[in-house]
């Protein structure tokens, strides 16, 4: 694991090769290093980590979405990188608003890490983040005709109200119809 100093060095190298605006910030929390990047430069940053960085991360373990509802920008996409040689992990986070996610979205990283294809489809399915340049951006878990992105926090939970003794008087009774 890169420590806090190592994380700053990593961020410094990214800034040197891609410009200052690529890196938004760094976070070192519970011995886990996180690099926060601008949404537009995700592909460049990950290409840098795979190819040009002196300490490369050759594997992408996971891509996942996140919804920080009261905060703005709301949606987050996290990339988990792993170097099996040095046994180091690095998390790359980016944040974007709902409008941003649904219109321009994020650059797809399938060309860099092909394993990200299903992960990006999952993030698209559940959070509605569009990945431009993805070869086959369809829903992966929900049915094709499903409307909405159910893992967003403002999406209703769904399901049916369960009849218990404490609320049976408030709910329409199935045998009264």
């Amino acid at each position: 694991m890169p420590d806090a100093t190592g994380l700053e060095l990593i961020a410094q190298r990214v800034r040197e090769s891609l410009g200052d605006e690529a890196v938004v910030g760094t976070q070192y929390y519970r011995e886990q290093a996180t690099l926060q990047v601008a949404p537009g430069s995700v592909r460049d940053v990950l290409t840098h980590f795979r190819d040009t960085d002196p300490e490369p991360y050759e594997r992408l373990m996971s891509v996942h979405g996140c919804d920080y509802l009261p905060e703005e920008p709301r949606l987050g996409v996290h990339y988990e990188l792993l170097s099996t040689d040095r046994c180091e992990r690095l998390r790359v986070k980016t944040r974007l608003t709902v409008e941003q996610a649904e219109t321009e979205g994020l650059p797809s990283i399938v060309e860099i890490y092909p394993g990200a294809e299903f992960h990006e489809r999952e993030v698209f399915d559940f959070f509605g983040v569009v990945f431009s340049g993805h070869p086959d951006l369809r829903r992966i878990a929900m049915p094709e005709d499903y409307v909405g992105h159910p893992q967003r926090r403002d999406f209703p939970m769904g399901g049916e109200e369960v009849l218990f003794t404490f609320n049976e008087h408030e709910l329409p009774r199935w045998y009264d119809k």
Binding site: G159, E160, V162
Partner: protein, 203 residues
């Protein structure tokens, strides 16, 4: 548990029966005794009852699982402790054309529901469905946007087995209930056992 063995009866009575059988085989029985002998050994029933009796004792389950309850279902089929071969239901069929009933073992997601309905439609009549566990009966703990709240929304369910997951005994009891339903005694006589005649629910 005490094992009760059936007694053979008094020795001379048994011996008399044996002699009777020997005489019958030799053709030495007089007409009235022969008539009584035959009446004691022939059962009359309707074809439907005999058919249902055969059906209930050779229930072939459809071999498919939906979620975690599927593991529990496998244990009642495969393990010697809860062997459902005792009830003739151990021959798991891989094809819906050969299966008699279907155990919905696990939560039914809305993406899986049309698939299950299609498999159910492919099964040949007569066919039955057991909803195993809380999820396929009423969505259970997965009461959310992705799960159909109760498989009876899209296919007829005969037996609901509650539990998360159900005990193997519960599922075996569900299969017994299904057998009783097939042979047209759905209550299995519990009203008599619990002295509860007259408490039937009316629509």
């Amino acid at each position: 548990m005490e094992v009760i063995r059936q007694k053979l009866g008094p020795a001379d009575e048994f011996r008399a029966k044996q002699m009777n059988a020997q005489r019958m085989l030799r053709g030495e029985l007089p007409d009235d005794e022969l008539q009584q002998y035959v009446e004691e050994r022939i059962w009359l029933t309707t074809l439907e009852k005999a058919q249902n009796w055969a059906r209930k004792n050779a229930l072939f389950p459809l071999g498919f699982g939906l979620a975690c309850c599927a593991i529990e279902m496998i244990t009642i089929i495969g393990s010697p402790r809860n062997d459902i071969a005792r009830f003739g239901a151990e021959a798991v069929r891989a094809s819906p054309r050969q299966a008699d009933f279907m155990m919905l073992s696990g939560r039914v997601s809305i993406k899986m529901a049309p698939v299950i309905r299609r498999i159910y439609d492919q099964m040949l009549e007569p066919k039955w469905v057991i909803a195993m566990g809380a999820c396929s009966s009423s969505a259970g703990m997965f009461n959310n946007y992705a799960v159909v709240a109760g498989a009876d929304k899209f296919l007829p369910v005969d037996v609901y087995v509650p539990g998360c997951p159900p005990r193997p005994e519960a599922l075996i009891y569900g299969i017994n209930k299904l057998q009783a339903k097939i042979i047209e005694n759905p209550t299995q006589g519990w009203r008599e056992r619990y002295n509860a005649e007259g408490t039937e629910e009316r629509a």
